[in-house]
Amino acid sequence: MFFDKYLKSPKNNTRIEKKVSSVVKHQEMDINIEKTVQDILESAGNPGDLINHGIENNDTLTAAVIYLETLVDGNLVGQHVIEPINKFVRENNGPLSPGQLKLQLSASKSVEIDDLHNAVEKLVSGHALIALNDVKRILAVSLPGFAKRAVEEALTEKLIKGPREGFNETLNDNISMIRRSLKDPNLRLEKKTVGERTKTEIAVIYLQDVANPAIVQEVHKRLEQINIDGILESGYIAEFISDKRLTPFPLVQETERTDRVIAAILEGRVAILVDRSAFNIIVPATSNEFYQVSEDFYFNWITGTGLRIIRAIGTIIAVTLPGFYLSMVSINPELLPPSVVQLEAASRTQVPFPAVVELAITFFAFEVLREASVRFPTNINMILGVGGGIIMGLAAINVGLVSGITVAIVVFCVLATFTTSNPAKEQSWRWIRYILFAAGATFGFVGVISAGVLVLAHMAGLKSFGVSYLAPWGPPIISDMADAPVRIPWWLSYRRPPTYRPRQEDRLGKNEGEDEA
């Protein structure tokens, strides 16, 4: 179709030629250390936080250490770079070769560079550059020293039982948390840089002997095709690599829980960790996945099953209740029992608006309250959020602007939306609710059903990295279906979900499954 090129991710295999934003030319370093230092300073724009520490021997510049004090730990530079070089120069009184330099340094992570462009990139990425006299190459040493958040509990996915640690915004910290839990030599980690200006580091993590190679390859391909100046959060990546663009549903799973990522990797899925983002990506993702919480697996399987069912019913109610309520109040009241009709009619006698306007006003008020409460300062959030909501709700009922039933329905729906265990999915249901709302107001009961089928049809057309979004229900994957409404007990869960086409279907790797899901 004509519009497909705008609405779908690119299907062709042609690699998009990336534009280079940096003005620093690719050129060889000068043999003269002063010229080299000058080139680097000019290329970096000689910023205020740049430190250029020269080490001289008999009034001759022997070495220069250049770094950004806001990104590099100055103490570590002094201790592991400047001090050893000073000592060598004092003791040997001669020129310093790259080999000798490496022997002197006690920093473990260093790389040799002979290109000015690469050198400046390393500098702005938080490396200390060491230039030597009469040497064309320079050494970039990683000694990071920037502010970062400590490992804290995942704010959007809190649990009663389970590990408390959530991801923070530092890629290496996040990788370390995964490695600490998954001590398997088959764990593969491939790093990439995305974003022409932000140079955001991302890491693709999977189990080599479990994850489907086609999916891993596809992940790499889609990441390669990203062409943007800056990546500030994993949401950018998620939007770029999703199979379909015109959909409200999340086609990748974003989470800030480490245990969730580890469980996904064990299932044969691929994790994409993004630097500067506490939310990391798991692919492929099915709709079913958004109703599972790590806690399901930590509690007894009966409790886990109960919680899953509550979550699913909660979502159905949150999405469909306004539409059904409206259809039955304004278009098909004959579908309600007479006692309920009487109750409803009695509560709305003083309300001046039709039900649809009343419900729309109440929903809008709650949406405003919700949006505002996110931005309230923490100390007054509770008071203004809850207090304001209660006072406003009661006042609206008392003056007869809205009925009590309407407020009850709106509050219940807003609360029930949060039973979805993923913020992105919760947001999508939030908007779908209004489609059903409009359908119910226009075509009554039939409208809600029709709109529901429309939404399901849309979901049926979605895929996440080649996996059906409605799996394991559509297509029906019997062995996986058992683990969808119920939480299958661990003593029965000896196979990985075939939905994700793992190379090893058996969790203990006793046999290899076929790729046929």
Partner: protein
């Protein structure tokens, strides 16, 4: 991108066929049975099922003969280009009839029970629009939708039918073994219409990944639909008797309303209607897709996605003709079940005979 799968497994075929067979078949079945055969009209449906088994075998054989081709593609090989194209057009015309007829059923039912003040043209636009969107998702999307809605709708329908037996009177379905001349055979022809949905297999069989399972899958879907529709007929006639059934415009809804769910909702009929509506919309999406895909293959231009848009005004126009009271259209549709019987059974049989004689496939 990963290779787009355009195949459907036996499970998906089963569910999409069940959706079509049940959705298109159930709503009129007690009425037709009672009208043409009386109190023991269920025999007509039983005999129709036996004929349907023959049709399924025929479809399976044709599927094996032409595993990678749809009927539109192999008709020119078997019959010659011009007759093949004409027969293909006839098949697609029948599909338009199917869509029009069933959409009109949904519209009428919705007008009767839910939206008596909404203009018919708007309702048609709504249903056809949704069906077109479903068709636009392609065979995979349609079958996945059918699979997703299957468990819930199946449970609700079975419960509705089960509870509807509470006022069942055995006398109403008697005499069981009374053969009144040609009533039963004539009724069998009329009662074959639920199996018209099997004609979609002629188009979607090439997408079946495991062709060995085709026969079992089709038989399973037909059997399941048969059992439930059969129970609906028995329940409706058993509750109201044949003359009673004929008094109602929508006996199936009336009979499922017998199942009460006190204090929550007045009747189970609502659940049944919601399930039927879901299944029928999905099935209409399938028929629409078959029509769009068939048109694209017949004319060898564009693809099915374009044809879902191109055919929209055409189907809408035919639907409006039917509803606006054009006498010729009404007259043509009175023969719908008869023409459908001849085409659904006759076309595959004719093609099979010809392919055997000409040794093609």
């Amino acid at each position: 991108m990963l290779q787009e799968k355009t195949g459907i497994g036996p499970g998906l075929l089963f569910m999409v066929l069940y959706t079509g067979l049940f959705g298109y078949g159930v709503m009129q079945s007690p009425y037709v049975a009672a009208r043409y055969m009386g109190n023991n009209g269920y025999w007509g449906f039983f005999l129709a099922f036996i004929l349907a088994v023959g049709l399924i075998v025929l479809l399976h054989v044709l599927g094996k003969k032409f595993p990678q081709k749809s009927i539109i593609q192999y008709l020119p090989d078997v019959c010659g280009i011009i007759p093949g194209k004409i027969l293909g057009s006839l098949y697609l015309l029948f599909i338009i009839f199917e869509i029009t007829w069933t959409s009109s059923l949904i519209v009428q039912q919705s007008e009767t029970y839910f939206l008596f003040r909404t203009p018919t043209s708007v309702l048609m636009l709504l249903y056809l629009g949704i069906s077109a969107y479903i068709a636009h998702q392609g065979i995979e999307g349609i079958t996945r939708l059918a699979a997703f809605v299957f468990p819930v709708t199946f449970v609700l329908i079975v419960l509705s039918v089960f509870f509807s037996f509470q006022n069942f009177e055995l006398d109403n379905i008697r005499p069981i073994f009374f053969i009144d001349g040609a009533k039963i055979p004539r009724g069998t022809v009329q009662m074959f219409y639920p199996f018209f949905a099997l004609s979609t297999v002629l188009m979607i069989h090439p997408y079946l990944t495991d062709k060995q399972q085709g026969l079992k899958t089709m038989l399973g879907a037909a059997l399941l639909s048969f059992v439930i529709i059969f129970l609906v007929i028995i329940s409706a006639i058993g509750n109201y008797s044949a003359p009673g059934v004929l008094r109602y415009g929508w006996p199936v809804i009336e009979v499922t309303r017998k199942a009460n769910l006190p204090f929550l909702l007045q009747t189970f009929g609502l659940f049944f209607t919601a399930s039927w509506l879901t299944l029928t919309l999905t099935a209409t999406g399938l028929f629409y897709y078959v029509l769009a895909e068939g048109s694209a293959q017949l004319l060898s231009v564009l693809n099915y996605k374009w044809f879902t848009l191109i055919l929209f005004p055409v189907i809408y126009f035919v639907m409006m003709l039917l509803f606006s009271g054009v006498i010729e259209v009404h007259y043509a549709f009175t023969y719908y079940r008869l023409i459908g019987f001849v085409l659904t059974l006759g076309l595959p049989f004719f093609v099979w005979i010809l392919s055997v004689i000409k040794n093609t496939g």
